[in-house]
Structures are given as structure tokens and as C-alpha cells.
């Protein structure tokens, strides 16, 4: 909690002179995510896919061994990717490379930082390594993005040092409904918080299970102190545009691209629809002739114990 206060103060107050370069500060971690805004981050499992994503205009790629749809289909424990695979992807593209660590697995995170990835996703898509604690993300120079289904969860991740939040959705389904639910939930709770009188924010903080200074900051600014992306089930240009209209600042697309009939074209179309998310004519134009979308599964048909969004707390 003291750390969160320090971060908040550093953003609003004038600086003491910095005569030596400082790395891994909250500002460079959060600032990195600011640069990704309005963009699409794509899951890739090979260097070839990474190149396709970069060619299509992705702002970053997420290097992983299996896309969520395959993790879901094949089952078993899902872990951090092989360092050789990550190196291969890092060497294939010039855009930022993200990689996933299991929830609470701080050594996977240490390894990913040592490999030089640009962002770590502490992700519910992988099998959690700790069912009580998340990673202490302040202990790292590399920034972290974490998933959230509601505002309290988002604020707890930020308290632990997350520099970017993504709504979770339900990864590997191609069903956008949970992404919608989570984005509406987070944005709705922020709006509600902003409407509260100051003396009700103390109880709001208690109910959100988040530190008061952070709750107060969100109430005052009407937004999270970090960038908010969306994820989990986005499979079409219209899906991406809807999430942007609902208030997402950018989009993660997992299985939706490389599980579709024409990944290159679909990837380009999702990038364009994200930039012109408020222009239906443009979305119509880019949605033409994309071939088969990812087949997908309805979230309703996924038994509750197999729903990834339930992981993390």
C-alpha cells in the first residue's frame, strides 16, 4: 500500500532532480502500456506467426507454446513457454514481445525477465502455481499485465505492481460474451465509484478489498491509473470494435487469429477495426471476405470448473 501511494505521488507532483538514469520505475512500466493503446496484441506460437502478426500491424505479440483454444482442448498443466521458443520469437520481430507466466510463479517471471521479454502476462490461461498469492510485481524491472473480471480484482493487481490491466473474458472460446461482461463490470464500477460522495469511499474500498488511496484516485479520475485492455474471446473485427466502444484502450486477440481460416487477413482487419472502432462503414469494409472465423465454443457450454476467468482472486 505504501508503494501505491508512492506511485500516485510521483505522477502528480514535481520531481526531485534525477541525475542518474532510473530503470523499472512505475512511469516507464505504465508508460510502455500507454504506447500500446489503440493497438492489437496477438498470441503467436511460432516465429512465422509472429512475423505475420507484425506484418499485419500488431503493436506487440504474446509468445506462448499453445494458444488458449489448444490448452483448453488438450488439457494438462499449462506452463511458461520454452526459452528457445521465446528467443525465436524475440529474434523474429522488432515489435515488443510479451510472454505468460503462471499466476504466482515468480521464478517463471524471473526467467522471462532474464530472457528480455518486454512485458509479462501473469495469466489465468496458464495453470496457477499459487492459489493464494499473485507475484509481487514491484520486485521486477520488467512490467506486468494482469487479468481482471471486476474493479476490485483490477485494483488488487495494481496494488501488487501490475502496470497494465486486461479484462479476462473467457480465453480460447471465440465467444466474446464474457469479455463484454467483464469490461462492462469494470467500467460500470468505476462510474459508480466516481459518483460516490467522499465519505462513502472508505466503505467502497472495504467492499472492493483494495487500498483506500487507490480507490480514491480511481474515483477522482474516473479511470484506472493504468491502461485497460480487453481480452478473451475476441474473434472478429466487430468484436474488437465493440470492446473499444465499451471503453477498452486496446485489444488482446488470442486464438481468434491463428485458429481462423485466413490469419493474415483477419489480423489486418482486426487492427483496422480497432483504429476505426467508431466508424461502422470502415468496420463493414474490413469485415468482408475474411473466410472462416474460429469455430469456437459457447462459454455456457464450458463446465464451470474449466472456466479460466475463475482463476485469480
Amino acid at each position: 500500500m505504501r508503494k501505491v501511494l508512492a506511485v500516485t505521488a510521483a505522477q502528480t507532483q514535481s520531481e526531485t532532480p534525477t541525475t542518474t538514469p532510473e530503470k523499472g520505475t512505475a512511469r516507464v512500466k505504465r508508460g510502455m502500456a500507454e504506447m500500446l493503446k489503440g493497438g492489437v496484441i496477438m498470441d503467436v506460437v511460432t516465429p512465422e506467426q509472429a512475423k505475420i502478426a507484425e506484418d499485419a500491424g500488431a503493436v506487440a505479440v504474446m509468445a506462448l507454446e499453445r494458444v488458449p483454444a489448444d490448452i483448453r482442448a488438450q488439457g494438462g498443466v499449462a506452463r511458461m513457454s520454452d526459452p528457445d521458443l521465446i528467443d525465436g520469437i524475440v529474434n523474429a520481430v522488432s515489435i515488443p514481445v510479451m510472454a505468460k507466466a503462471r499466476i504466482g510463479h515468480f521464478v517463471e517471471a524471473q526467467v522471462l525477465q532474464a530472457l528480455g521479454v518486454d512485458y509479462i502476462d501473469e495469466s489465468e490461461v496458464l495453470t496457477p502455481a499459487d492459489y493464494t498469492n499473485h507475484i509481487d510485481k514491484f520486485a521486477f524491472t520488467v512490467p506486468f499485465v494482469c487479468g481482471a473480471t471486476n474493479l476490485g480484482e483490477a485494483l488488487r493487481r495494481i496494488t501488487e505492481g501490475a502496470a497494465m490491466i486486461r479484462s479476462k473474458g473467457e480465453a480460447g472460446t471465440g465467444d466474446v460474451s464474457n469479455a463484454t461482461t467483464h469490461m462492462r463490470q469494470i467500467r460500470g464500477e468505476i462510474r459508480k465509484l466516481s459518483s460516490l460522495p467522499e465519505d462513502e469511499l472508505y466503505v467502497a474500498a472495504k467492499e472492493l478489498q483494495a487500498p483506500y488511496p487507490l480507490v480514491e484516485e480511481v474515483a477522482r479520475n474516473g479511470k484506472l491509473p493504468v491502461v485497460l485492455f480487453t481480452a478473451g474471446g475476441i474473434a472478429s473485427p466487430a468484436d474488437a470494435a465493440m470492446m473499444m466502444q465499451l471503453g477498452a484502450e486496446g485489444v488482446f486477440v488470442g486464438s481468434g487469429i491463428f485458429k481462423s481460416g485466413n490469419p493474415q487477413q483477419r489480423a489486418e482487419a482486426i487492427v483496422k477495426a480497432t483504429t476505426f472502432h467508431d466508424d461502422p462503414d470502415m468496420i463493414a469494409k474490413v469485415s468482408r471476405g475474411l473466410g472462416e472465423a474460429m469455430v469456437g465454443i459457447n462459454v455456457e457450454e464450458v463446465p464451470e470448473p474449466h472456466r479460466l476467468a475463475e482463476r485469480g482472486w
Partner: protein
């Protein structure tokens, strides 16, 4: 000032558009986001924000903004680029993609991601020529640096030449050529409005010169 404030656009294909819009507003100019040729035609100056230069380059081409933007820059429209914006404004880029487009508004060669990957991103105070009241707090995020600048490019800031800076020591990170300004770092992230005020002044001067 009697005339209405000039309108400064922010290229809004991707990147930290909102922060630039807020900084420009604080500098007293009107602002609008630019994604279409008609919007580009309506502005007196343009900010190219931080973001991913390869993505913006690709989208400039896709949305048919590349040639109109080059034309406006060639005819003297003031422009300011931070980070990715500096890369796009430059004549030449090293460590970029082969198909990356250059706007050619600055006679400089930039090196993309010159300081390293995200773990090497940093913040530091810099002396900035033409900006008073102390150093500018500079935030570098996977930033480029200026590898070389031709004669008529004015160097405004460089990384301090100290031992801790390593290969970054003395590298040029802010330049101006005529009405085109560029920084490798992100003043829009710090709430320090001085660089944007400098650019707003450049735009105002250009507009009143046109009117004269």
C-alpha cells in the same frame, strides 16, 4: 493575441494520443485527432504520438494518409514527434523494418529501440536548449536515438555524457529543423508542459507568418 488559437492535430492511428491532446490543450491551442485525410487538411500543425512506429507506418499507408501527410510536411506544416513520431519524421531509420515508411521531414538518421528492450527503459533529467526553468524530466520507453543529424538540424538535448550512460552517453535525443520538432522521449507522460508549449509557439508563429 487577437486571432483564434491554431488547431493542432494528433495523429490517432495508435499510441498515447490522449496524453498529447491533454498537453496541447494545456498549452492553449485547439486540438483534434487525425485519422482521415479530411481531418489532416483541417489542422495547422500535427503531433505524431508515441506508439509502435511500424504499426503507425503501416496504417498511414492503409488509410491513404502517407502521401497527403508528406505533402503537407513538404509545404511547411509544423510537426512534433515523440519517440515513434521521431522515427516516422526522420529521413532514415536503422534497425527498422525494410518496408517502414519515412516522412522525411527531418534530416536525421534515427536508430530504433536504440537503448534496448523494455527492461532498459529509463527516466532522467536533461538540459533542453530553448526551454527555461530547469531540466526536462525525460521518460524513454524502448526509445530511439538520433544516430546522426545533418548540418541545419538543431540539437536540443542529448543524454548526459557520464559513465553510467554507457553506449547511450552523449546521444542526441531532441532536435529541431525549421518548424519540425522531435524528441526520443515522452514529455506528454510527465505533466511538464514546456515542450508542448514550445511546439504550440512554433505553430502560432507559422500560422501568423502564413497570414502575413
Amino acid at each position: 493575441m487577437s486571432a483564434a488559437q491554431p488547431c493542432v492535430g494528433v495523429l490517432a492511428l495508435q499510441g498515447d494520443v490522449r496524453e498529447h491532446v491533454a498537453s496541447l490543450r494545456a498549452a492553449g491551442v485547439r486540438t483534434m485527432t487525425v485519422r482521415r485525410e479530411s481531418e489532416l487538411a483541417a489542422v495547422d500543425g500535427l503531433v505524431i504520438p508515441g506508439g509502435e512506429s511500424t504499426t503507425m507506418s503501416r496504417l498511414l499507408d492503409t488509410f491513404e494518409l502517407l502521401e497527403p501527410l508528406r505533402k503537407r510536411l513538404a509545404s511547411g506544416m509544423p510537426a512534433y514527434g515523440s519517440c515513434a513520431g521521431m522515427i516516422l519524421l526522420a529521413n532514415e531509420v536503422l534497425d527498422g523494418r525494410e518496408d517502414q515508411h519515412q516522412l522525411g521531414a527531418l534530416d536525421i538518421t534515427v536508430r530504433r529501440n536504440a537503448f534496448g528492450r523494455q527492461v532498459d527503459s529509463f527516466e532522467e533529467d536533461l538540459a533542453f536548449t530553448g526551454i527555461d526553468d530547469g531540466p526536462v524530466h525525460a521518460v524513454f520507453i524502448r526509445a530511439p536515438w538520433v544516430e546522426s543529424a545533418r548540418q541545419d538540424v538543431e540539437v536540443l538535448a542529448a543524454v548526459p555524457d557520464t559513465a553510467v550512460a554507457g553506449p547511450a552517453a552523449g546521444r542526441i535525443v531532441a532536435v529541431r529543423q525549421g518548424t519540425v520538432l522531435a524528441t526520443a522521449f515522452h514529455p506528454e507522460l510527465t505533466g511538464d508542459g514546456r515542450v508542448h508549449r514550445l511546439f504550440a509557439d512554433i505553430v502560432r508563429a507559422a500560422v501568423s507568418e502564413d497570414a502575413a
